[in-house]
Symmetry: C2
Subunit: 186 residues, 2 copies
DNA sequence: TCTCTGCTGTACCGATCGGTATATCAATCT
DNA sequence: AGATTGATATACCGATCGGTACAGCAGAGA
């Protein structure tokens, strides 16, 4: 059999594995087990090993957020883009059933491996949201505070809903944040 | 030499080790290296191994929050207790330089090992804060929302300040949250 | 002084870690 | 057909994993 895998097909499986087990917890045997791909192929596509695999996941995540969240926030109608952000974020994180890998990596030593990528992800998110808020009528300092508060709140909601095993906490928190930002743009 | 260690002396060192490396990343060799205690003593005090060590840390953390945060929120003057909470939390987390181990454990598979302890920590925090908010004059539903938002925001601020390597983000976020709650109690 | 108890360091256990080498396979090109 | 290429499974590597066994050692009580 010659089943050819594409990086694009494998990376999302990596992502879920790292999400569930963390960087250290995601051993190569776990990864081969979940992807169904042997070490041979794994190292063929990712000669850099585990670190390259996780790096590919982060790049994949970054690309998704760039096109689905950041770009609309920067370029499209501000109010609409912000509203779409809440919906897309709720879907992406499966209403709290899925964590933010970037945030999780930031919390422990794994941060040192992907330092700049992790910082970028959040900087660009906050900056894009701030831009949208200002276009929607916020003053600069308020927009900055609210943007930080929004991104912050999302990360916190992920932690909390995981801890409580209650996805409604996540969706409810997003709603509260959305109202808060909406109130500030009129 | 007969240097007798107390569990109370060791546990905080465990805590920092788990914080920095995560549960999987905190190997026994790392732990012995940081504590300066050999495996012999380690397993003498903690026959249950790594899991018991981490469990002791969680119990330690829980006890600290109970006496320093939750109890005042439940019993003392509401406004004062809330104000004290922000100060104590900022100190405890070293202005964002130290993460919340409970939150970190919640994010990956480690949650399954300490499930009830993790959930309890957050449930009691939110409940205590809600109680204080109500005594300070909040309506019940608003108090619940604000309490969740507060705890949520703290967790998010920890993630964000770690990711950005910027402790000012943490302190600033706490300030914003404090203002938010203050505004709702008058 | 002589036990006895509690603590400690160390050697060791099987299992698994991340990673490498290689032989084989399927498909394509000449 | 024969050679070449890319993809795959597998065996294997030294290192380290979490955990155990145990011998020795210091101090308290007899």
């Amino acid at each position: 059999m010659k089943t050819v895998y594409e990086r694009a097909d494998i990376v999302p499986v990596f992502a879920e594995t790292f999400r569930e087990l963390g960087y250290e917890g995601a051993t190569l045997s776990r990864i081969t087990e979940r992807t169904g791909i042997g070490k041979g192929s794994l190292y063929h596509f990712f000669p850099g090993g585990k670190e390259e695999m996780a790096g590919a996941v982060l790049a994949d995540i970054d690309a998704w957020f760039e096109q689905a969240i950041y770009r609309p926030l920067r370029n499209d109608d501000a109010r609409q883009a912000i509203a779409a952000m809440w919906v897309n974020v709720n879907d992406y994180f499966r209403a709290g059933g899925r964590i933010c890998l970037v945030g999780a990596f930031a919390l422990d030593d794994t941060r040192e491996r992907f330092s700049s990528g992790i910082a970028d992800y959040f900087i660009r998110w906050i900056e894009a949201l701030r831009s949208a808020l200002m276009r929607a009528g916020c003053a600069e300092t308020e927009a900055q505070t609210l943007a930080e508060e929004g991104v912050c709140g999302i990360q916190g909601a992920l932690v909390l809903s995981r801890a409580l095993r209650d996805g409604t906490v996540f969706t409810r928190s997003l709603k509260t944040l959305a109202n808060r930002l909406e109130a500030a743009t009129r």
